[in-house]
């Protein structure tokens, strides 16, 4: 077997489908020279704008998350203050009752 000859035979040129030329000419007539750069620009813009949208969405999510967290922290602090105030009020109440009882006893 002569490999060179076999390769030349195996890799000989083949014609594309019969309507190939017509399809190329139709695409050229459709204005690819003008539309291709625009399509490229549009695709570039789409890619760029997609990146921007993703970046903005991520920023908004982070901001919303931070805000939510701050609100949650605020609510927690508020409830802790209220609890502390309730405890204090209850203690004060008890202390006041004891003072009143002692003052009643000393009067009587």
């Amino acid at each position: 077997m002569n490999l060179d000859d076999e390769l030349k035979s195996a890799l000989r040129r083949h014609e594309p489908p019969p309507d190939f030329t017509a399809r190329v000419l139709a695409r050229v007539s459709a204005g690819p020279a003008r539309t291709a750069p625009l399509a490229g620009l549009s695709s570039t813009l789409t890619r760029k704008s997609t990146r921007w949208v993703a970046a903005i969405a991520a920023t908004l999510l982070l901001a919303a998350g931070a805000l939510e967290y701050r609100q949650y922290e605020g609510e927690r602090a508020k409830s802790q203050v209220l609890l502390a105030m309730r405890i204090t009020a209850s203690k004060l109440n008890k202390a006041q009752k004891k003072v009143q009882m002692l003052s009643h006893r000393s009067i009587s």
Partner: protein, 174 residues
């Protein structure tokens, strides 16, 4: 029908160039990519690009060189994009089945399959060498690589192909 610019030199008519070179462009793409539909699409894109660059090409010879170069490089780009999908390497490629000696279409099919399993650059080199009958210096210019690289890759590819084919032919007693 595309209009021919007034200053277009003889032999540089776009439709004529498409008709003259479509088999060459389509076949380079097909032999490198081993996918008829993708090769056809790539060939059309190459001719659209030719239409856009026609004014920069000086002669039919320049157009031929440009077409070979753009087709080869675009086909290699497609192969590189496909690299994510594992391909069978030549060393691991299955032996071609039921071969008979020279001139047999099955032998041609088997050889094309083995060429299609070569590494991408070697594949393009073999296609340009045997389809287009180009010498290593011309292939080096088209692929923009050193002549030495073309020669060494060609030798290695041929040694692998020879080994695979003779092993198969030996196995079936031919």
């Amino acid at each position: 029908m595309p209009e021919r610019p007034v200053s277009t030199p003889a032999g540089m008519d776009f439709t004529g160039l498409v008709r003259q070179h479509q088999a060459m462009v389509f076949s380079i793409a097909w032999h490198v990519l081993r996918d008829r539909a993708v090769a056809e699409e790539l060939a059309q894109d190459v001719f659209l690009s030719l239409h856009q660059h026609l004014a920069t090409l000086e002669s039919p010879g320049h157009a031929l060189f440009w077409l070979r170069r753009v087709t080869s490089n675009r086909a290699l780009d497609v192969l590189r994009r496909r690299q994510r999908h594992p391909m069978v390497s030549l060393e691991n490629a299955p032996e071609p089945v039921a071969l008979s000696p020279a001139g047999d279409p099955l032998l041609g099919t088997a050889l094309r399959r083995l060429v299609g399993a070569l590494p991408e650059k070697a594949r393009a080199i073999v296609v340009l060498r045997y389809q287009e009958d180009l010498d290593p210096a011309e292939i080096a210019k088209i692929l923009d690589i050193p002549v030495g690289t073309v020669k060494s890759q060609l030798q290695r590819a041929l040694a692998l192909l020879r080994e695979k084919m003779s092993r198969t032919l030996g196995e079936i007693g031919l």
